[in-house]
Symmetry: D2
Subunit: 425 residues, 4 copies
């Protein structure tokens, strides 16, 4: 059994520090700088910028958000030299080669936050204990602060124990997981093309503290879309008939989109997360933008949702005499864990006191772009798995009172360490 | 001044008789037979069938309704000989030529009922006094019983006074006014092509007992449409995704149709009066039918409504992967009364004690296919007018408690008689 | 191994005969008479009327449909005596007691059809081979003709082999399974209250010829609802504002109903299978009726769907100033097969050459009111199971070209016979 | 006849200057400062701040917009002293007392812009001749630049001719007419409570250059509303069922709002000019805001629209389990010009060469909060009128290419001067 208790303070401290400074996908310059600093401190070679992200494959990368992130990084004292290395692209990969023959293991942690305003109520621990987000409107409400902190603790532990290991480790700190945007660019960089094994994990979700789901299912395939409608404005009092109402196109699309028939063969999801339409109160609205997503239990079902959505979007443009555009903003696929790694994970969990490996199928019920990375590895014959590290949580993911049982971090680190030893030792 | 009191009993009796036996548009065989009998009794030449209706121009003529009307007529003892004359087409025209030179005057009365179930409450006079509709689901709830009764009283009076008249009179009993369906076929028969003058009237509407609106405006142009959607059925539990939901197409079209922007240049109307969709409870609906109408203050505005509706109907077919059809079922146009006839009507009303001719523009606010007949006459240089004979009414047109102040019938007859004398004497 | 080949001709002949004469739920008087005749011929005691259906618990029993079914039965020569026994209630139970001690086994077959118009295309075997439905608009498109035929063959075989059996058999021929309406009344009759074992089956669904799913899951809990909206009519041209538009309430409810959010914990379904709204084309619609259903993978999820639907229905009544009613028309629950019977079925299938018992969970993906009967038996400690007899089919259930591979009938009968022997021999 | 040609250069120059610097309602600090400077130059007493606006009656005054306007004013060099006089409230009133007995005449000009981005195409005169808006997203696209310029020219002319006048003139420069927000506060300040006469005007609209509509009708009564829905967020993949979808409430309200039945007694309008809903793409939206307006030809019809809208808003909150708020943001009423002033205007127009006074009812077809001011004056027995100064325009009001025929300004000034002389001379 591996003792990882030495990293307890680091785990909590870094998690709480990151919790105060959430950054949105593609803007995590300050967060990346923090990670780079730690990785270099631990002795890693750190890859950045186009070495880890292929800019041609970035999805949903909003330049205004990038600019704001850069500005903030400068205010936070990130050096121009480091920003030049990043080249406008967030995320990084720490590489450590043991120098001994052995497999290459890639492990992945995601680093971005969600656009939620954190609760300031006293019952919310980050508020009560003073590590609440300092950036209203942004919050680590999906546990990526814990992921990053865990990734750095794993890195630290591995560096401390590198003499007992073989092969090579690549530790991916991926940007922009929210919206399943970042993985496509990271996969396309080729950084995983020599990986024999790939492991990723998410904290909490459907697992309580003490449980680890080593064979989850229900990674919903998903496509993220931005839809715009453009109509024609008109004075709503004088000649409303002269308008082509883009808001009407959007609202009628919305009600039809939510009504896409469920699929007989598996789970589907659809959401329009944001709708902004119109100009002045007395002007027939001539613009509308919808940020939406579809999901399906399989690629085929996701495609059904996507095709149905496109039909609706087109039809409403026709009905309301508007133009439309559809832009793909993100995507994730499904995943089946390779049995070899399920076995590794089961053993890794079994070696941690008080932890249970749940091998029964547990429903992840969401999308994860780690699946894009996993598929990249599986495509060349590598093995991949994704597991869920249980953690009690007082509130749902992406809500203002989301928090995790911090005790789960120590056990999670032990699971990671055990699994890595089983693969690389 | 003309005394028409002799016709009082006939007016009431026939109106009440007809009230008990309402017949829907294109099925008024029994009603037509009744009218023909009276007209022949009064000495008129009576034209029937294709002489008064061009079958190529019939709108909204449902063969099942026609068959049911024929069946009922046979049950009511209408002779096969008369039915053969009718040739499947309802309505008739009574012609009486004075033999003296003079203009040809066409006057028009409509004879069909509406699909409303009549109130059986005691406060409703037809229920209390025993002349309620004997045909549940059908009712003379727009006063066409009064129109027909008035037409026959006018016919009787004219026949009695023919020696004092010149020229020729044609008394049109038009079928299928509801849905503005019957006039197009009657106009196309050519029956009006020798008319120098055309007069039509509606009872009640926006006028109280004692008032006659001699120059109403707001005859909304209208187009009646039947829309069908055809999708694909599927088991709603097993594979709902396999369906193409025709009800979804219809309901989403409905909500958009009602939302067609008002027009800056004048009144618009839209209604879907009937929607029937679906099959079994657990089957994704594969059929939907909408009976609808659009209206506009002018032809151009009506066209705007029609074009907007068609766009919506098409778009919803696309959105929901369904086929659609659109069939025109009726139409009416707008009308401006010729000043010469406004003057005639004003004088005709002025000569009836206790009646006031309202020359100010009063809003008819509905559609009337008498306008199609009027336009046919105006097209060859004839003069046309439509007036509204006021009558107090306890409830709105087309409602279960619609009724009219029967005292208005006598005065209405007097107005007709005066007007005819002014034109033909 | 049991030889049931002797019943081959009977199986096909009766199935094809029934296929020509589909009857809707609660109207299956002619079908019931046919079954009764056969059962009595085989020597069964036959229970009818209130002995097998508690009329207080009938769901979705439309009296017009019942009347039409009675009329048809009389036209078909069903005796008044037998109709008196039925007492207006369709379905029956054949009972045969071996006289020897042993358990009571209840087995259930459903007998009604669906409102689908059968395909007349030559590629459709019932059309080509002359046993197409003689009743346009109705069709055995869910295989209940095969169920009934199988039930009668089982009855015949059991009677022929009763000397080798112990205990008692009750063969339920249940009406009105479509819409999951009939089981509630049959359960409430108490007919199952002495049953130690209950077995039911469905043909085809997700199983191919040769497969039997002995442990299916995904019996969606369901509630069937009839919703009415009542508004206020008004002339759509004259004063549309005076109307309270019941069609608007229904259509806006419809679009929101389809949009009820999917559930994170399991499958949901919603369908409005029929919508009838409105009166005349130019009348603001004052009535609307929706026949709808919700389903959920569990009782809790079904309740979520039901509650969400009720909120929407209420809200649309408020939005459109209409009154509403909600009436429950049917229900089914979920089911977990008792392991003892799964074992029995597995062995029963294994004993039929060329058949495979699929013990892996296969998704039934629909609702079945046999679950109501199963739950009744389980409630007093009996064992229950439901299995799916595979049969290739050219088209989906409830579609115009639905048909089954008739060869599956022989094998199905063998499975039934084997299972009965395992329980009663 | 009055010669006002001396003011031609001023008219054009000031209109073009103001056109470059559009300011939104309640933020017109720079514009107000400009007006104040001119009025003081011409010798007027100028009232500001709470003397002309009662802050308790401000509708639709957004504090962010106010702050931005103040910031801009400071950047533009407006003195702190003047800003202190304004006290956060824009608009002003110039008063000049002739010292001679006579009536008090209040005339009103509005000064704010609309949120439209001006066309930069060469065919658009302000673009070609270099006086295009310098503030992208804002534009004088309703002619209030011309109104203000005309008001200042009238002020200048009156000051130059004060010796020939009697009584007192009050020249109101009203903020925030767009959205009909500013008049309520100005009326409530009491500034009009001594006015014997009130005149207001709008340029262009339904009148061509050379025409003046002296008796327009169709000032639609209107109410402006902000509606918010608050639901409950949830992860759209993990447990969409846990959300209460505020966007669904808003979109379904939207489609029903547009579908409010037309009114049989007169024009109605409804528009949702802006809808902003939702947060993250994968979060069930928990907030939605709609900026909307209803209009009606009369107060009663406007109330019908308002009441119908409120019902829909409430119903959708119920349907989607959301909270809602409704806040009134603006209002205007209808207006009938007093005949005495119609006569004055007719004569005033008749005295300008090449101009025609259209006394026939011309449809204004929009809302104007000058009606609120007019009603305040009529309420204490004063006389009020509003007229439309024709001006050719290449594009509709509130569109990116709106512009006016500047030659209309000279003639408009002459009409104003003539009318003032008829009242005060």
């Amino acid at each position: 059994m591996t003792c990882t208790c030495a990293y307890h303070d680091q785990l909590i401290e870094i998690r709480r520090h990151l919790h105060t400074m959430p950054e949105e996908g593609w803007s995590e310059f300050t967060t990346t700088a923090f990670i780079v600093g730690k990785l270099r401190e631990y002795g890693y070679e750190v890859l950045l910028g186009k070495k880890v992200i292929n800019p041609d494959n970035c999805l949903g990368r909003n330049l205004k958000v990038v600019e704001a992130g850069l500005k903030l990084a400068r205010e936070n004292g990130v050096s121009e030299e480091l920003l030049a290395e990043m080249d406008g692209l967030t995320g990084c990969v720490g590489v450590m080669d043991t120098g001994r023959p052995g497999p290459t293991l890639a492990i992945r942690f995601d680093i971005d936050c969600v656009p939620v305003t954190e609760s300031t109520e006293d019952c919310h621990i980050p508020a009560r204990e003073g590590f609440i987000s300092k950036r209203p409107g942004l919050m680590h409400a999906c546990g990526h602060d814990a992921h990053t902190s865990t990734g750095l603790a794993v890195a630290h532990w591995f560096a401390d124990n590198v003499d007992q290991m073989n092969g090579k480790i690549k530790i991916l700190f991926q940007p922009a997981e929210e919206g399943v945007r970042g993985a496509a660019g990271m996969a396309a960089s080729g950084i995983l093309d020599d990986a024999d094994y790939f492991l990723g994990a998410h904290i909490a979700m459907m697992c309580k503290s003490g449980e680890v789901s080593v064979n989850p299912y229900g990674f919903l395939c998903t496509t993220k879309l931005d839809v715009t409608y453009t109509g024609r404005p008109a004075h709503a009092g004088v000649e409303p008939n002269a308008g082509h109402n883009a808001m009407a196109a959007a609202c009628n699309a919305f009600v039809q989109l939510l009504g896409i028939a469920r699929h007989g063969s598996g789970m589907t999801r659809i959401n329009v997360g944001q709708l902004v339409a119109g100009e002045g109160r007395n002007v027939i609205p001539s613009h509308a933008v919808m940020k939406m997503e579809v999901r399906g239990e399989t690629g085929e079902i996701n495609q059904y949702m996507y095709d149905s959505a496109v039909n609706i979007i087109k039809g409403c443009a026709l009905s309301q005499n508007c133009e439309y555009t559809i832009e793909k903003m993100g995507e994730a696929v499904d995943l089946t864990n390779d049995p070899e790694l399920v076995k590794v994970l089961t053993e890794a969990v079994g070696n941690v006191e008080g932890m249970t490996a749940r091998q029964d199928p547990m429903n992840f019920g969401g999308s994860e772009d780690a699946t894009i990375l996993a598929r990249r590895v599986q495509a060349h014959g590598g093995k991949a798995a994704f597991f869920v590290l249980g953690a009690d949580r007082p509130s749902g993911h992406h809500t203002a009172k989301f928090d995790i049982d911090e005790k789960a971090l120590d056990k999670g680190l032990a699971v990671w360490a055990n699994a890595i030893k089983l693969i690389l030792k």
